[in-house]
């Protein structure tokens, strides 16, 4: 364990993408978790100062058209974005790992059926499916997370399948089979733990995708009205674009930074797994 940690430390010194990604993530997490502490105002409260520019009357990022403090909304919006990103991507990771693991390890007919199923799933326009489901069944944040998660698992399933196919040939798996360990327990004890790393890297990237999708749904008016979301803030500022550009501009900048953070971590992890890719970067 100690050895692994020191290897990771070495990697961090070398891998600037991973390093900057993790630093940004730490800042975001502090902001999101500490939102109740750092927030200067109640994010839902309507103040008399309407559409004041950043820096005036003690409103760090100004206020929106209803007089809500943008700085505090940004902090609480970070909670929403991170929560949606992480939970949706985790759902995708779990579903993808299980389906891909079963296909790759069990092989044969099971594999063929699952591969066809994945191919069909990949070819349906998932963004529009998400849009319709949320439009018809309501924009509760839990639905949004589940629907995003359940439509983005195929890439994880493909990665896990490839891992499982290569791992099942390895001696330690063959030995476990020889001494009579059940197939399911081999899958959960050997195949998945040993093949999980590419899925972790891919899941990190998917957090970015989920955050962008949520922001987009909120922008189209399909966000959960009971929470603060950066997409909703951008949408709310749309009408006042010329008079008060900061209402839309500021939350957008934070979406970009957050999405970039997870890109950097994902790319960094990918480079960590396959140092060969270094030549290609």
């Amino acid at each position: 364990m100690k050895k692994k940690l020191s290897a990771f430390g070495k990697e961090l010194r070398r891998n600037s993408q991973l390093r900057s990604g993790l630093i940004l993530l730490a800042i975001l997490l502090i902001g999101a978790i500490g939102a109740p502490v750092f927030a200067t105002h109640d994010p839902f409260a309507l103040y008399d100062s309407i559409r004041v520019a950043p820096g005036t009357d003690g409103f760090i990022f100004g206020t929106d058209a209803l007089g809500r403090d943008i700085f505090s909304q940004i902090l609480y919006g970070a909670q929403t974005s991170l929560k949606i990103g992480v939970i949706a991507a985790s759902i995708s990771a779990v579903v993808g790992t299980l389906i891909g693991g079963i296909a790759g390890y069990f092989g044969g007919v099971v594999d063929k059926i699952i591969v066809e199923f994945i191919n069909i799933f990949v070819m349906t326009p998932s963004f529009f499916l998400i849009l319709i489901i949320v439009a018809i069944y309501g924009s509760d944040i839990r639905y949004v997370m589940i629907v995003i998660g359940l439509t983005s698992w195929p890439s994880n399933a493909r990665l896990m399948r490839a891992q499982a196919i290569s791992l099942r040939q390895r001696t330690f798996v063959k030995s476990a089979q020889a001494i009579g360990v059940s197939r399911l327990s081999i899958m959960f004890k050997h195949i998945i733990p040993n093949g999980i790393f590419p899925i972790i890297a891919n899941t990190t990237m998917q957090i970015s995708g989920a955050i962008l999708t949520e922001a987009g749904l909120s922008f189209l008016g399909l966000g959960d009205p009971n929470i603060v979301s950066w997409g909703q803030m951008i949408s709310a500022g749309k009408t006042y674009l010329t008079k008060a550009p900061w209402i839309s501009a500021i939350p957008g900048v934070f979406v970009v930074i957050t999405v970039l953070t997870f890109f950097l971590i994902g790319e960094g992890l990918n480079r960590f797994i396959s140092p060969k890719m270094e030549n290609n970067k």
């Binding site: 349906t124 849009l131 962008l212």
Partner: protein, 321 residues
């Protein structure tokens, strides 16, 4: 070869059927009873409800309704928009041209620009310009398209005042002929530009990494060993092999392109399918939503299969089994 194409077509049919099923289930399970809304919520008349239920075929069993639905879809009847009092297919048909104009222009610019820049960066691998363009591509990849659109409106339409903010033509202009074309083109600059900027990183990275990939392959080293000129190796062998991945993803990128145009059309009030989708969400016009979804699902499936078939013709290494 024939078997491969047949297999792809079969997959396509399955995809369309799956999409039709998903659609049917989604609409059938939607909360709210359309007949009760049509009959008036304040003073419902049970006789009228019975007549309306029969009129729309809602008194039949679910499997029967499903068969009717499939029959309708096959005949090109995607439902009736109660809000617009029009056939869904007619509503969509009106909006197809603007959407295609917008998204295909953006796609062309993004593919050409992204690929050329990608090839250029691969040749300058590791240099400052390469690093800078890679960073730029990441930033645009992380940017929500609708926000980028708003910021570009702010800069070019509001502050600089050189481009129109929204719409497809100047409503007060009543231009005809060449002036009309120029007017539409002027209105296209911002939306097409935004969409192209959002899409280009995709093609940029694929071109860049596949050029680098091919350049590191053994046969290139062999060609170098034979003393062939670098330029000839690059133009004749590297480029051709490196462009194959770009062709392959064109089919799958269609869904991505169309989802981008939903946001762009909403931001720029572009009178296309994306805008129709947005308006239908606001009005809870489910038949239009499901019609658009179905048409997109079919288009995407057809495009992907076409690309797969073309790809298998270009690249003989593809296995057909």
């Amino acid at each position: 070869m024939k078997r491969y194409i047949l297999k792809r077509v079969l997959t396509g049919i399955v995809i369309v059927l799956v999409s039709v099923c998903i659609n049917f289930v989604l609409i059938r399970c939607a909360p709210g009873d359309p007949v009760r809304i049509l009959a008036g919520l304040d003073d419902p008349n049970e006789d009228q409800i019975a007549v309306l239920t029969a009129q729309y075929g809602l008194d039949k069993s679910i499997p029967e309704q499903f068969v009717v639905y499939i029959g309708n879809v096959l005949r090109g009847d995607f439902g009736f928009s109660y809000v617009n009092q029009k056939q869904v297919i007619d509503l969509i048909a009106e909006k197809v041209v603007p959407t295609l104009l917008l998204s295909l222009s953006a796609l062309t610019i993004a593919v050409l620009g992204g690929t050329l820049l990608g090839i250029y960066c691969a040749r300058k691998n590791g240099k400052l310009i390469d690093k800078a363009l890679c960073a730029v591509s990441y930033v645009f990849d992380a940017t929500p398209s609708f926000w980028l659109g708003l910021m570009l409106i702010l800069i070019f339409a509001s502050w600089l005042g050189i481009l129109p903010t929204s719409g497809m033509e100047n409503m007060r202009g009543h231009y005809t002929g060449i002036r009309h074309v120029l007017d539409v083109m002027q209105h296209m600059i911002l939306p097409v530009g935004t969409l192209a900027l959002i899409q280009f990183p995709y093609y940029f990275r694929i071109a860049r990494s596949s050029v680098l990939q091919v350049m590191s392959e053994d046969f290139i080293t062999t060609l170098r060993a034979t003393g062939m000129k670098e330029k000839k190796i690059f133009n004749k062998y590297v480029l051709r092999n490196a462009l194959i991945p770009t062709v392959t993803i064109l089919g799958s990128s269609l869904a991505f392109l169309l989802s981008g145009s939903v946001y762009i059309e909403t931001v720029f009030s572009w009178p296309g399918m994306g805008r129709l989708l947005f308006d239908s969400i606001g009005k809870r016009d489910y038949p239009v939503l499901s019609g658009i979804y179905l048409i997109l699902a079919i288009t995407v499936a057809v495009m992907m299969i076409l690309v797969d078939v073309v790809y298998s013709l270009i690249d003989p290494r593809i296995k057909y089994d």
